[in-house]
């Protein structure tokens, strides 16, 4: 490979590499945000359903700690979807009132979680470990004060598997596209360069006296030749004067 071809190859390599890399990155981010968003929505739907039930009971004057239907609801929801690791309903102070794991009832959530729940925004979630995420929905009483939280712990294993699979597919696709289009761009650039070089060579022959004219540069060559002829004629005139 001559140095110019090498230059053109590296140009194609980096240009296509950048385009494909950026597109791949964008697809990766989009997939990640859609996938985690769907899971979060799914979990949030159940959390909202639980806090709806709790709020209805609170509005009827029931005590937070004695809502009879809640335990049954959270257990049914936990069993209905394998993504859920545990569902809990906690008081304002973080003390667990209802839980799918009965052994946890009466214990407290870490205080750091509670401050996060207080700040919770629509797309926020807590991830105490890489394989687990937590979403909470506030339960409000009739005075719109926070009475507690519906807290759902769910697994991220599925998310990791899906991301890994998607990344593998993305890498292969991007690699293939990168290879094909790098070679294509290199080929096209090399063709343009060869064509330019050939036309310039033919124009050089024409300028050097060859009768054949390449139409691609006929105008340029003609303009230069016209100047050359005029210059020769002019110099002939200078010499003619001396001869006379």
């Amino acid at each position: 490979m001559n140095p110019l071809s090498r230059k053109l190859f590296w140009l194609a390599f980096w240009v296509i590499g950048f385009a494909v890399f950026m597109t791949g990155l964008l697809l990766y981010f989009k997939y990640q945000s859609v996938f985690t968003g769907l899971q979060r929505d799914r979990v949030m739907m159940v959390a909202n359903e639980i806090d709806d039930i709790a709020e209805k009971n609170l509005s009827l004057g029931q005590d937070f700690w004695e809502i009879a239907t809640l335990q049954d609801v959270i257990e049914r929801r936990r069993e209905a979807d394998k993504i859920f690791l545990g569902i809990e309903v906690v008081g304002r102070d973080g003390k667990i009132a209802y839980s799918t794991d009965l052994a946890r009832v009466g214990s407290s959530l870490p205080p750091a979680w509670l401050s996060e729940f207080a700040l919770v925004r629509p797309n926020n979630r807590l991830s105490p470990s890489p394989d687990e995420a937590i979403l909470a929905s506030a339960i409000r009483n009739s005075f719109n004060q926070v009475a507690g939280y519906a807290v759902i712990r769910y697994g991220r294993q599925l998310e990791h598997e899906a991301m890994a699979q998607f990344t593998r597919r993305l890498t292969v696709t991007c690699g293939g596209v990168f290879l094909v289009f790098t070679l294509l761009l290199w080929g096209v650039l090399a063709c343009i360069r060869n064509r330019t070089e050939n036309i310039l060579k033919r124009a050089a022959h024409t300028i050097s006296g060859d009768a054949h004219r390449d139409p691609a540069m006929a105008g340029e060559v003609a303009a230069i030749e016209a100047q050359l002829t005029a210059a020769h004629r002019q110099l002939d005139a200078v010499n003619a004067g001396q001869a006379a």
Binding site: P3, K7, L25, D41, T196, A240
Partner: protein, 687 residues
């Protein structure tokens, strides 16, 4: 001259090929991944639909406890409609009884069975009641359509970066094309002397041209020598016989040139300049890009940091990093010119890259506002040093003929970075977070540092003495310039308001507003990118328009352009009063782009007109130095004003108040400059 035509066509052809193939590669990647996306996301959407179905089924099932027959349930359609509204990927929700639909909400789709979740309703088993939730089979297509904007951004950015890569990787080839074009153009003009040869392309063509040029040149020299000797013998042969030859010689010299009349030793200068500027281009672009990456999210990042003991509101905290950066740039740049010249462009550029690298990496690790402010100040200093050094490279390596092209390339790098940085930074910030994007800026400056160290040529004495860089805006110069009330008014009524509104809107209020409205940093980046693209497209058009008007009507339309531009910029802010959601900032950016492009060039041109006397005393560079410094102080004031208004009255009022302020400035400016144009200097009559 047609010779450049062919070579230019080849260059355009190559660029078009790059752009088409880049677009095709993006389209191919997206097209191939669509199926993977679809097959992986659809089951998750169905799971979500099942969860929604379970929730609805549980709610309807509660009625069974009160023995309400399923046919007599009321409000089921409202319930379904509310649920569908919350989840746009659900196409239809049905209540089925023995397989027959009794209530259906949404659009019936020809969804395959695998896109419909059916769930029995507990308590109504006897009635064989079910909830059927169908998901929209076009959901993934819709996701991809939503992503189209991002893909367009990636395509645009890739195209611009590709062009930078062409200059970086194939700069020598581009320089060769320039050499060949110059050689052909020279000969077609009748210039016959040796010119620099290309290294990579068209060697044969160049040699053939050179050969013919030398041939003519030698004939000319021979004729000249012969004429000279005959002139010395004129007493023997008679001078009259030589008159025809002298006349022909005069004609020949008039029509043709046989030696390069340009500045002697700079025959190779253009090529060397192209290579030197090419070497500066990539590191300078990376340095600017690193800073521009954070434009779309810096206010959000800062507002999340603890302000410590400083009693500042969140909005003020969000504005301070931009203020610190702009202030350092404004105040340091006038002083840096002489310093950069003294220690050398290469050394100062490398120093700036190292400082920027440290500043970006440490910004990404900032734990408090104070830390971020310190690193942003360092970043501002690095930006200013790099700017002055890069500008110095252009001035040092160009002559009067090539300076305009050199400075155009310099401005081009800044604009390309402004187009690419905020948009890509927004996408990255949404994906990997603010800190990682800032750290990426550090990595980019690291690459810039490496390239600068490896590729930047050693300093050479400047082609001409540049007073521009060595003219800091000293107090005496400031006082002389400010003594001119019209200059002061040009600054206070046009230059500063234009910058205040630009920075307050584009870099502060719009990024915050967009995130506040529930959108993303990527969207904020797109808005800033839109502004930059408009500037790239409109500024040259507007400048040509002004020049054409000036030529046609022999008047000075600059003041009118500045006034209209300012007014349009101000009116832009009023668009935020319209209830159009995210369309409102889009209109703001659009109008701001039009307004700024109308006023930028004429405003700079007005300085020369308004300050004729000061320019005579202080020089053009000093007066423009003062103008640029005050203008940049407007950059620093913009976010502060924006933050104060935001704190006091919220987004809409902040936008509208700044807009109204600028419109008022435009009105007063019109009274001063448009209706009372600059008085002509009347020569004093000698007593």
């Amino acid at each position: 001259m047609k010779s450049p035509g062919f070579l230019k066509r080849q260059l355009w052809l190559a660029i078009a090929a790059v752009l088409i193939i880049v677009m095709a590669s993006i389209a191919a990647t997206v097209g191939l991944m669509y199926r993977a996306f679809d097959s992986s996301i659809a089951p998750q959407v169905l799971e979500k639909a099942k969860t929604a179905g379970r929730s609805l089924s549980g709610l309807i099932g509660q009625a069974a406890a009160y023995d309400i027959p399923i046919d007599e349930l009321v409000g089921v359609d409202d319930l379904f409609a509310a649920s569908r509204k919350k989840h746009p990927e659900i196409a239809q929700i049905e209540l089925l009884r023995a397989g027959q639909s009794t209530v259906a909400v949404g659009t019936a789709v020809d969804a395959a069975a695998h896109l419909t979740a059916r769930l029995p309703i507990a308590g109504y088993e006897g009635a064989r009641a079910e909830i059927a939730v169908s998901i929209n089979p076009g959901y993934v297509r819709k996701l991809f359509q939503e992503m189209a904007l991002d893909l367009v951004v990636v395509a645009v950015v890739t195209l611009f970066v590709s062009l930078e890569l062409v200059y970086f990787l194939a700069g020598a080839l581009v320089a060769d094309l320039g050499t060949l074009r110059a050689q052909g153009a020279a000969m077609a003009r009748g210039a016959f002397f040796p010119m620099p040869q290309p290294n990579w392309l068209g060697l044969e063509w160049s040699t053939a041209l050179d050969k013919r040029a030398i041939e003519i040149s030698q004939r000319y020299q021979a004729a000249l020598a012969s004429l000279r000797s005959r002139w010395q013998d004129r007493h023997h042969i008679g001078a009259t016989s030589l008159r025809t030859s002298f006349a022909a010689l005069r004609e020949t010299r008039k029509r043709f040139s046989f030696a390069d009349a340009r500045q002697g030793s700079r025959i190779d200068g253009n090529r060397n300049a192209a290579l030197a500027l090419g070497a500066m281009r990539a590191p300078f672009f990376l340095l600017l890009l690193a800073d521009d990456l954070s434009r779309s999210f810096l206010p959000m990042f800062a507002s999340g940091l603890p302000a410590g003991p400083l009693p500042l509101s969140t909005n003020m905290v969000a504005s301070l990093p931009i203020v610190a950066f702009m202030l350092v740039v404004a105040l340091s740049q006038p002083l840096l010119g002489a310093w950069s010249e003294r220690i050398g462009r290469r050394r100062s550029f490398i120093g700036a890259a190292a400082l920027a690298c440290a500043a970006h990496l440490l910004s990404s690790q900032s734990g408090s506002l104070l830390e971020l402010l310190v690193w942003r100040c360092a970043g501002g200093g690095a930006w200013a040093i790099a700017f002055v050094a890069a500008q110095g490279y252009v001035l040092d390596h160009t002559d009067t003929k090539t300076r305009t092209a050199g400075l155009a390339a310099f401005v081009g790098i800044i604009m390309v970075s402004l187009i690419c940085g905020p948009s890509i930074g927004g996408i990255l910030a949404d994906g990997v977070g603010h800190r990682a994007t800032l750290a990426l800026g550090g990595a980019l400056t690291g690459v810039a540092l490496f390239l600068a160290w490896r590729r930047l040529p050693l300093d050479q004495p400047p082609a001409i003495v540049t007073t521009q860089s060595s003219s800091p805006a000293s107090a005496s110069k400031l006082s002389i310039a400010f003594a001119n009330p019209r200059f002061l008014m040009l600054l206070l009524l046009a230059a500063v308001p234009a910058k205040v509104i630009l920075i307050a809107y584009c870099y502060y209020l719009i990024p915050l507003y967009i995130v506040d409205a529930g959108s993303t940093s990527a969207m904020a980046g797109r808005m800033i990118m839109l502004y930059s693209v408009m500037m790239v497209l409109l500024v040259p058009m507007m400048a040509n328009w002004v020049a054409a008007l000036r030529a046609r009507y022999a008047n000075e339309p600059e003041a009118l352009f500045v006034a209209v531009g300012l007014a349009v910029s101000g009116v832009a802010g009023l668009a935020m009063a319209l209830p159009f959601g995210l369309l409102s900032p889009f209109i703001v950016v659009l109008l701001l782009g039009i307004g700024q492009s109308l006023s930028i060039s004429p405003q700079a041109a007005m300085v020369a007109e308004v300050c004729k006397e000061e320019i005579r005393v202080l020089g053009t560079s000093a007066v423009y130095g003062v103008y640029r410094m005050v203008e940049r102080l407007g950059n620093a004031a913009g976010p502060l004003i924006g933050a104060a208004l935001l704190e006091l009255a919220g987004f809409r009022t902040a936008f509208v108040a700044i807009g109204v302020g600028v419109v008022v400035c435009a009105a007063v400016f019109s009274i001063v400059f448009v209706f009372k144009p600059t008085p002509r200097h009347v020569p004093r009559v000698a007593q």
